[in-house]
Symmetry: C2
Subunit: 553 residues, 2 copies
Amino acid sequence: MLRWLTNYRREWLAGDLSAGVIVALMLLPQGMAYAIVAGLPPVTGLYASILPPIVYALFGSSMVQSVGPMAITSLMTGTALAALTAPGSALSVVLAGQMALIAGATLFLSGVFRLGFLAGFLSRPVMSGFTTGAALVITGGQIEPLLGGPLVAIHPPSAIIGLSSLLALWLAKQFLVRGLRALGLSARLADMLTKLAPVLVLVIATAVAALGLAQARVRVVGDIPSGMPTMALTLSAEHWRPLLVPALLIAFMIFLSSQSAAQSLAQKRGERIISNRELLGLGAANLASALSGAFPVTGSISRSAVNYAAGANTPVAGVISACLIVLVLWVPTTWVSLLPLPALAATIILAVLGMIDFTTLRDAWRYDRSDAGALLATIAGVLLLGVEEGVVLGVVLSLATLIWRTSRPHIAVIGKIPGSEHFRNVERHHVETLPEVLMLRIDADLFFGNVDAVTDHLENLLKARAAEGLATHHVVLVMSAVSLIDTTGLYALTEINRSLEAQRVKLHLTEVKGPVMDRLQRSELLSRQLSGQVFLSTAQAFRSLGEGASQEN
Amino acid sequence: MLRWLTNYRREWLAGDLSAGVIVALMLLPQGMAYAIVAGLPPVTGLYASILPPIVYALFGSSMVQSVGPMAITSLMTGTALAALTAPGSALSVVLAGQMALIAGATLFLSGVFRLGFLAGFLSRPVMSGFTTGAALVITGGQIEPLLGGPLVAIHPPSAIIGLSSLLALWLAKQFLVRGLRALGLSARLADMLTKLAPVLVLVIATAVAALGLAQARVRVVGDIPSGMPTMALTLSAEHWRPLLVPALLIAFMIFLSSQSAAQSLAQKRGERIISNRELLGLGAANLASALSGAFPVTGSISRSAVNYAAGANTPVAGVISACLIVLVLWVPTTWVSLLPLPALAATIILAVLGMIDFTTLRDAWRYDRSDAGALLATIAGVLLLGVEEGVVLGVVLSLATLIWRTSRPHIAVIGKIPGSEHFRNVERHHVETLPEVLMLRIDADLFFGNVDAVTDHLENLLKARAAEGLATHHVVLVMSAVSLIDTTGLYALTEINRSLEAQRVKLHLTEVKGPVMDRLQRSELLSRQLSGQVFLSTAQAFRSLGEGASQEN
């Protein structure tokens, strides 16, 4: 921790400085815009950009992560607050801080208890579906501010500013990189300058609005209190309960969003992201956000990528950004107050449209239809049920596809390849079998999700043998592919053993892996109940049961 | 379907008849008691015992399942209704029917779409924890009716009836079986008669209350409308939304409770339970319950076991029970109206105390601490957060233990056993390795829950080799234990390939299973990106890369 600070090299400073400046210029409009998405006063977005990145630097493990306001978490904050209070009210600011507090504490404690594995609750296609759905919801919510009113009653001056800002931003995105490269700039520099187009567009829009359209009643950002946020935490005792579930869901999405941003950049830099350190960093950043009158924050994929591309070497870049935001708040902020909301809506729309991702859908559609189905259902869930419901649905769908895939494990009836010690599937190879012995290889872990299928399959096999007139006196389960038997799996084995015993069939186990065996030895199944034996190898079981059979004959 | 009816044999009738009578005698007090637990008029519990078992008989797959009111689903119904209306109100009856409608439709459609695998969302320890927690909640809720008032202000006549009923029931449970057997009855008969103790106790308590304590104001069941329920469905349009989530959770628990009851009995009878047929049967039964002015129903473990023990052969037993309940409703029901509530509370308490299960906790504690932890956390969740929250928590904990266990798969660095074609873990065997080749066997499926760990592990291995001064030019992934690569896994492999290529390391795959290969061939990873080769066997990879190395040298 903080090794980057004690080992700081002077030559890193140039990169950190340029990245810090560029990210600060991105953060200014983004911070205010995402505060609006969260239904909060614009200045809170700037507050969310000061302490959180500094505190993240102390605990997090990514060198180039830009922590601050982010589209999805702001949308989730806004949705949760809308159910409890009016947007922009004093209470909404209190509740936003309280959400950041709960989310931050949850993340921090998850880091302490090393719960980073929980990121594995969401598959990548489902995450992509959630992001796309959230981007569509945010875009839908910005159409009214963009046009200055609902579609049936747009406000022409606002619509002109909004739509021309949107057009300018779109043109910049499409052509500016190419234009700048034609002027001889490097690809990286051209790309970075393009990211600053929103600031430029907003400055022009503000100038136009301030000069020409002052009487046209275009809505503007309004007064921004000058100076630093007050370091204080106001809480609303009656709102702990209604905020709990939304805050937990936000904590989950904070971790997942940040994790995917951090990981892709760390891979490029040859560094490692330690999930549990990330949890600490994000938790501390959100606690800091709660203290500074702001709202839930996370690592932003788009800003972090710019930070990396602009040459950031260490979290010093983030600290520099934060200092610049502080400077902006200390100089008179009148110019910010004149920023027209339609132009800000245009920057939001163009930013989140970039989050819409059809590549993953195409890949999943080709590769695995159930993943593609989960992705589409998550988009539909976010749009039709809501954002929080979308997160829950996404988790359910990720796990449902997992449970579904693992619910019917492959089980092979095996026999011995003549003249060898190898055992193979009887359906694919010419193998020897013993007359009254059924040998099965279970190609999966035995856990609560598939024990019914395994029990069923075994019963069917026994019935099929009986129907063919084959007696069965021994069932041998080959456990070479089983690395886990949970308690439900143990119960299933116990019941299989009991039911076979009632039919006078002995159950044997072979090739049980070390850790699985250690555990089984603590159960009554092995110590008392098992009707047959535990063999070390399948070959040994085959030999022993074969000899037994020939003696009986 | 209905094969049991077309093939019905006369000799089955005796068993079905005796089981039908005994189960009806159990259903009478249970039906009213569980209606009270659900916060509904007692008669609705009798309505829930008529049509649902008959309709289940048409669709379900179990021969001996007793479908009707059950403790856990009644508790869940009561909890959901309590948030919306006063217990026993006219609206509560409407909403209970609406819950049964939503739950029934969900179950039926889940059956049509073959979603029976969803039972695999809850592990057995967690289910045990949920049942224990629910039993404690129900017991807690019955203490006030048992004593005729809160603990600080008990109503002595009520408490006398309640506590003496409880004592009588407890004594019957402890000693009646033994007593009856001493009188020469068979174990089965003694056991069955013991199950009728509640009816006997209630009859005595009713007589005592009616004769001696009429002036003592002991609360009684009250007027039971005579005759059949009206077949009609009143709905409340504004309550669809608040009922949705509770009804979905109840549907899930209906399926799980019924499934475990049906499965253990089917195993004893050598029959099979088809999950998707069970879903249809339970769905239809709940739709029928909605139509008959009742509430969500499911298969009861305790009644089904009695039904089986009393000799039930087919669902005809359930139909006979239903007819007997109809008879009871057609004769004058004055005697039922005098049934004292404290005695009914005693039967509830004794019934649900039997659901408290510490055996599973003990087994899980010995065998797998994480399962035991999930069980305890689920009990705590039901008690502290609530019943619905307990179900959700249980699902989350089941899946969390699964994700946690699979999140760090075993990955072995392997080498060739000299003079053979076998490859084994370098740490456990003396094996040959190639100087610039890292061979890994992944002992798990590659899915969203473990891809980060796999990527991390590989990076660490490469760093460790670099630290020892070993160059790596080839990484070979041995996929013999991988039966599944989901879309997230495919992305991880693609990123591993890209990151290795950036370090000038080639990625090769060997022993990819057929179905996994079919899928990979549809991806760009195999068709275009893979830097290395796909070998059929590890031995072939070893030979080919070994030759390549010696040529290079």
